[in-house]
């Protein structure tokens, strides 16, 4: 019988196609792993409702497990809804190194026009940055620019 640890190790080899530096465990979309005698069940949850990466991720898991002779059943669940709080510290560091600012702890989203969140530049670390657009290259990102080094960068926006 395959050990549960082995399953998690395998899942760490599956990457988010839209943020290729993050594996799906770091991203926090793997919710549970259940073991039976010969099969295992992996439950994942989408980041955004229309996230086009989900299908690719499922296929990647299937492929990798097949190569390792493990039968896997993948289930998708919506509740509890994914939040950026589930991105691991490790994942946040990887994002920063990759040039994407990780989600900051933002105040309640329902408070409109509250003071804008300070997002440090992933390149020069300056806090003097500005939001260019709330919506960036993928559903999960906003578009920012650094006022100091002028680097345009993605911000993995807070979702709670």
């Amino acid at each position: 019988m395959v050990k549960k640890e082995k399953i998690w190790e395998l899942l760490e080899q599956v990457f988010d196609p839209e943020v290729p530096v993050l594996n799906i465990v770091d991203l926090g979309i793997v919710r549970t792993v259940e073991m039976n005698d010969h099969t295992c069940k992996v439950t994942i949850t989408p980041t955004y409702s229309g996230c086009p990466a989900m299908k690719t991720i499922e296929e990647e898991i299937q492929k990798l497990f097949q190569e390792n002779d493990i039968e896997v059943e993948i289930e998708s669940t919506l509740s509890p809804a994914w939040t950026t709080d589930w991105i691991s510290e490790n994942g946040k560091n990887k994002l920063r190194e990759y040039g994407i600012a990780p989600p900051e702890n933002e105040v309640d989203k329902s408070v409109l026009f509250a003071e804008a969140t300070v997002v440090p530049c992933p390149l020069c670390k300056s806090k003097n940055t500005k939001m260019v657009s709330l919506f960036g290259s993928t559903a999960c990102k906003a578009h920012y620019q650094c006022n100091e080094c002028l680097e345009p960068f993605d911000y993995f926006k807070c979702l709670r």
Partner: protein, 252 residues
């Protein structure tokens, strides 16, 4: 009408609102006034179509006839779509699109907040998921309402014109009938009358900052929830359904 039929109808109404608006906004792809806005609108369209997918999946499950999400989205006749008239209206100019989006986003945020407490676990889960995205949509449309309203004379006049034109479609957002009544008794559906005051006060607040007026014209147009649509619906469906009608069962 039994409970199962009511849940199906109820879920389709929500799904159709998301689908039609998502389809409409996706028409902006490649036509946005600036690149950032082009990307923002297509992101919002993607969220809405994703939400529609979740609601259609659930509707298909409730229906239990072996149909898929795609069957429901692409293969019904016009009168079987139960979206409100607001979401099928044409994009018009950018201000028209933003005004339509703003009225809808304010409603949707309040609606999903309530629906996430539904005793129907599936509806509650989809609502909880969708709510997080809707907050971003609302922030986006609210900021544009303020920027356009409190911008130049021309942008102010244009967005006020959009608001005045679309106002007649807003009452239908709060339409309720026996479907809602039956499901409210079971704490499944949202009592929309309870949302209306908050909807209006939020709009007043943003309009005040945007120096816009809430229209006083009382005439309201409805029909979508009963399947009676405006002339624009047929054109939207023609484009939406073309591939499945021309090449039945084709796969992407």
């Amino acid at each position: 009408m039994n409970k199962q039929e009511a849940i199906l109808e109820y879920t389709l109404r929500i799904a159709d609102d998301s689908l039609l608006l998502g389809h409409r906004i996706s028409e902006w792809c490649g036509h946005g006034p600036i690149l950032e806005e082009d990307i923002a609108l297509t992101n919002i369209a993607l969220d809405l179509i994703g939400q529609a997918t979740n609601f259609f999946d659930y509707a298909a499950k409730v229906q239990g006839e072996g149909k898929t999400c795609d069957d429901l989205a692409f293969l019904r006749l016009e009168r079987e779509y139960k979206n409100v008239l607001l979401v099928e209206q044409k994009n018009g100019h950018f201000g028209d699109t933003i005004a339509r989006q703003f009225f809808f986003d304010v409603f949707r945020k309040l609606f999903f907040e309530s629906l996430s407490k539904s005793t129907d676990q599936d509806l509650a889960a989809i609502a909880e998921k969708s709510l997080k995205e809707t907050r971003y949509h609302l922030k986006h449309s609210s900021e544009w309402i303020i920027r356009l309203g409190d911008g130049t004379q021309e942008s102010h006049d244009k967005i006020q014109g959009s608001v005045d034109y679309l106002w007649k479609f807003t009452d239908e957002l709060f339409f309720m009938d026996q479907v809602d009544e039956l499901l409210i008794k079971e704490n499944i559906a949202v009592d929309l009358t309870a949302l209306k005051a908050n909807w209006k006060s939020y709009i007043s607040e943003i309009f005040q900052e945007a120096t816009l007026n809430i229209p006083t014209n009382g005439w309201q147009q409805a029909g979508g929830r009963k399947g009676l649509h405006s002339e624009h619906m047929g054109y939207a469906l023609a484009e939406l359904q073309y591939m499945q009608r021309a090449y039945p069962n084709m796969q992407w």
